[in-house]
């Protein structure tokens, strides 16, 4: 090892320390951005150090340099453009796409290494074992993440795609992948083994994610994020690079924890989600508006009067708000109410929106000050003092049935919306949430149902409130 190698090794170590510190700074909204910038700066330094290393080694061909810079330029521009242009509501899809890119890169890297080194006899198990795992996990993540992004974007049906023998197919594919992996370890020169492994993993990614409903996609994306981290750590073993091992393991661990937190908040087990076939995704407006018995339907003017003469209003935004991209209109309505002297706050369920914390991002984008956004534990004791709880496109997370045992959502943490003095629910229809059960909140005598698309409802209500207070 030359002096330069040693110096660069320390630079990589410093970068790894900065990744950990960066994640640590994400503990608090006040320091989170600094944390991300620190992490990005460390990454930039690490990339520069790699360039220095390559120049010093001087083994890279001119074509190699061109290929590398062209790839970096094209990849960076695509990533930069996508990151700048994306709508905040479409953010989970983009994270999934970046995740597919990372997983794909990790798999390609191992394929490349094994193909190049196959001729020489230097491939020991300590390279081929992590290499095979890297290809398996990376390729599976690549197609799986693409399907997950497609489902959220609507390119792929968000309903579970189930066909006869789907589980048997998955089992066969997993077996084929395992056989390919073992074969590759035993005989690293075998192109057939490599192709079998890659093909089985790619198809397994598709068939694993297709049967999972759109509502579970956030958990799946988070799980695949953890997979990519693990694949990158395996790539670190293949290349003997501690920086990749550290960063990959960090992400693998964080993704795992985050996946568990999300699944817990939705009262689902990760195994249930991955086995799939449950959860029909987004609630389809199949039931006619106001059709159900015992439901009190209210008009925009009724709601506006209730809101304008309330002292305290708690807004409960849900997925319907995000889907209708109505966060800006909601911000405007809340501002109109605040100017009228109404105390407005927002109750944020841990899984409101598409992912934990997604609703906070959407409302932040609509310039809602984040001190008004209250976590579930913080806001639940305040519901009895609220004159109106305004539920916008949220369903299962407000269903009082969760407090009783014996149904699909038993034990799921919910917002105590039914304890408010009155409740207004804005929803397109009486359709079910992903749990597929009736929401008892809607038939509560103090609940008024306002059937409308969230965006249209916000605009109408804001107009009605402003007319009232003018």
């Amino acid at each position: 090892m030359t002096d330069l190698d040693t110096v660069i090794g320390y630079v990589f170590l410093g970068a790894a320390v900065c990744f950990v510190l960066g994640l640590h700074l994400m503990n608090s909204p006040a320091t989170a951005r600094r944390g991300n910038l620190l992490s990005a700066a460390a990454m930039a330094v690490a990339v520069l150090a790699t360039v220095v290393l390559l120049v010093d080694q001087d083994t890279i061909t001119a074509t190699g340099w061109i290929v590398m810079f062209l790839g970096a330029a094209i990849g960076s521009s695509a990533g930069l453009y996508a990151a700048r242009a994306v709508q905040m509501t479409a953010m989970p899809q983009l994270v999934s796409l970046f995740n597919a890119a990372g997983g794909g890169a990790a798999a390609l890297l191992a394929v490349n290494h094994i193909v190049q080194a196959a001729g020489s006899a230097e491939l020991a198990e300590r390279i081929t074992v992590p290499g095979a795992l890297d290809i398996l996990i990376g390729a599976l993540t690549f197609t799986g993440s693409l399907v997950a992004a497609g489902k959220l974007q609507g390119f792929v049906p968000s309903q579970p795609v189930v066909f006869r023998g789907a589980r048997a197919t998955n089992a066969v594919l997993a077996l084929a992948g395992a056989v390919g992996a073992v074969w590759l370890v035993v005989d690293p020169g075998s192109v057939t083994a490599l192709l079998l492994l890659v093909a089985a993993a790619l198809v397994l990614g598709l068939t694993m994610v297709l049967p999972i409903g759109g509502a579970d996609m956030p958990v799946v994306i988070s799980l695949l994020n953890a997979f990519t981290g693990t694949a990158v750590a395996m790539a670190g073993f293949v290349l003997d690079q501690a920086a990749l091992i550290i960063a990959g393991a960090l992400v693998g661990a964080s993704g795992g924890i985050l996946t568990k937190l999300m699944a817990d908040a939705m009262n689902r087990s990760i195994a249930d989600i991955v086995i799939g076939g449950f959860g029909t995704g987004d609630s389809a407006p199949t039931v006619a508006a106001g059709a159900a018995a015992g439901v009190r339907v209210v008009s925009a003017d009724d709601v506006a009067i209730q809101l304008a003469y309330a002292n305290k209003v708690i807004i409960v935004p849900g997925y319907g708000l995000a889907a209708a991209q109505a966060q800006h209109e909601l911000g405007d309505l809340a501002q109109a109410l605040e100017e009228h002297g109404v105390d407005v706050s927002y109750a944020i369920h841990p899984v409101a929106g598409r992912m934990p914390g997604h609703m906070n991002v959407l409302l932040a984008e609509a310039n809602v000050p984040y001190p008004l956004l209250k976590d579930m534990e913080e806001i639940n004791p305040e519901f009895p003092q609220a004159d109106v709880a305004l539920v916008i496109g949220a369903n299962d997370v407000t269903n009082p049935a969760a407090r009783r045992p014996g149904n699909a959502i038993s034990g799921m943490p919910i917002l105590d919306v039914d304890r408010a003095k009155s409740v207004v629910v804005i929803k397109r229809s009486m359709g079910h949430g992903y749990a597929g059960i009736d929401n008892e909140l809607y038939t509560d005598p103090k609940t008024g149902m306002f059937f409308s698309d969230a965006k249209h409802a916000m605009t109408t209500l804001k107009g009605a409130v402003q007319t009232l207070v003018a």
């Binding site: 990454m43 990533g79 989970p92 990372g102 990790a106 290494h113 990158v232 964080s254 984040y370």
Partner: protein
């Protein structure tokens, strides 16, 4: 680095990851997922190292694809995370209730 050393680094990093992540409040989980996503963009370094050893067409094509995907992951991930976190910090003037107090 011998295998034992590499495995030691891996295991300790997993433990550090669990310890650092489990303290993050739910409100920051989405930016966190995106931030973690950009950290595994470090795969681009591996892709660069591998492109240094490529010397045939297959090798160049694989290296090109790996570097491009890794770079997209890294650059895009950090930029979109920053966009998100920047929104958390935005404090519109003149809105009531926008005081700095908040503990999560």
């Amino acid at each position: 680095m011998d295998l034992l050393g590499a495995v030691t680094v891996f295991v300790l990093s997993v433990l550090v990851g669990v310890e650092v992540i489990s303290k993050v409040p739910a409100t920051l989980h989405t930016p966190l997922m995106s931030g973690a996503n950009s950290i595994h963009g470090i795969v681009v370094i591996g892709a660069m190292l591998i492109s240094a050893t490529a010397d045939d067409l297959v090798g160049y094509l694989l290296a090109f694809a790996a570097v491009a995907l890794g770079a997209a992951n890294m650059v895009g991930g950090y930029v979109v995370t920053d966009r998100m976190l920047n929104m958390f910090r935005a404090r519109p003037a003149g809105r009531p209730g926008s005081d700095e107090e908040r503990s999560s």
